[in-house]
């Protein structure tokens, strides 16, 4: 079976953002711990959030994200034009989708739709700022794996 794998290592700033978001949602690790001890697995998200918050509250935490697409759907998110976007984002920073579309010489709406699909696939983040969205490449690695044996890298980018 063929599969497409993407991997992302979160930086210290992103880890702190994730920790703060969980603290905002649950007030404190202790409050979440109490909730989890009462409701347990009836709400699986609480258990996962508790384990993440606990791990991120330790000294020097690290967090990785990995996405795997299998079967015939592996290229659902990666069309040639979307690969162009990833490549372009790897080498350039854009302050809006408009400037990215201009750089790619493509229609804004089409670029926007492609970015939304790439965001859903976990390859790109669209950071909301005022009335615009700033596109950023967030994966550090994209791989195609065949039968778990030989691996062929389709592209590699470092998150800044």
């Amino acid at each position: 079976m063929m599969k497409l794998e993407t991997q992302r290592v979160l930086g210290p700033g992103e880890i702190e953002e994730e920790r703060q978001a969980l603290l905002n949602k649950y007030d404190s690790l202790e409050a979440l711990s109490q909730k989890v001890s009462i409701i347990g697995c009836t709400r699986p998200n609480y258990v996962d959030d508790y384990m993440v918050l606990k791990a991120l509250s330790t000294k020097n935490p690290s967090l990785k994200e990995r996405n795997v697409y299998t079967g015939s759907d592996i290229f659902m998110f990666l069309t040639p034009r979307r690969m162009d976007i990833l490549d372009y984002l790897r080498n350039n920073k854009f302050e809006s989708i408009t400037t990215l579309a201009r750089g790619l010489r493509r229609n804004y709406k089409n670029v926007y739709n492609d970015l939304e699909a790439l965001e859903e696939a976990g390859l790109v983040a669209l950071k909301r700022e005022r009335n615009r969205k700033i596109p950023r490449l967030i994966v550090t690695e994209i791989k195609i794996v065949v039968d778990g044996g030989g691996e062929r890298s389709t592209g590699e980018a470092q998150t800044k």
């Binding site: 697995c41 699986p44 258990v47 994200e65 996405n67 795997v68 299998t70």
Partner: protein
């Protein structure tokens, strides 16, 4: 590490693994499906919360239906089970698998 494995456009496994000094201290692997409304809902979940490896089943509204103890699972084990049995997992005795 947070992991997502797409089994199908409407089915995925969401995994969480926590390590402490290289030791695996927690895992959870949740098999989810996308409803017609586009929301992802849990069907079956394996985890070892409180060092108790078990498997949970959920109904269409995400309410817990059943909990059973089961052997520890890896993400590969869960991907294999979900790829083969898909939503039929809900009707199976998962404690024995």
């Amino acid at each position: 590490m947070k992991q997502t494995v797409m089994i199908h456009r409407t089915e995925k496994i969401v995994g969480l693994e926590v390590r402490d000094r290289g030791r695996h201290v927690f895992y959870s692997y949740t098999f989810m499906y996308r409803s017609t409304r586009g929301e992802w809902r849990p069907i079956v979940r394996w985890d070892n919360f409180n060092n108790n490896p078990h498997v949970d089943k959920y109904d269409d509204n995400g309410a817990l239906l059943e909990t059973k103890n089961c052997p520890e699972k890896s993400l590969d084990d869960v991907v294999k089970l979900a790829s083969i049995f898909r939503r039929s997992l809900l009707a199976m005795d998962l404690g024995a698998l």
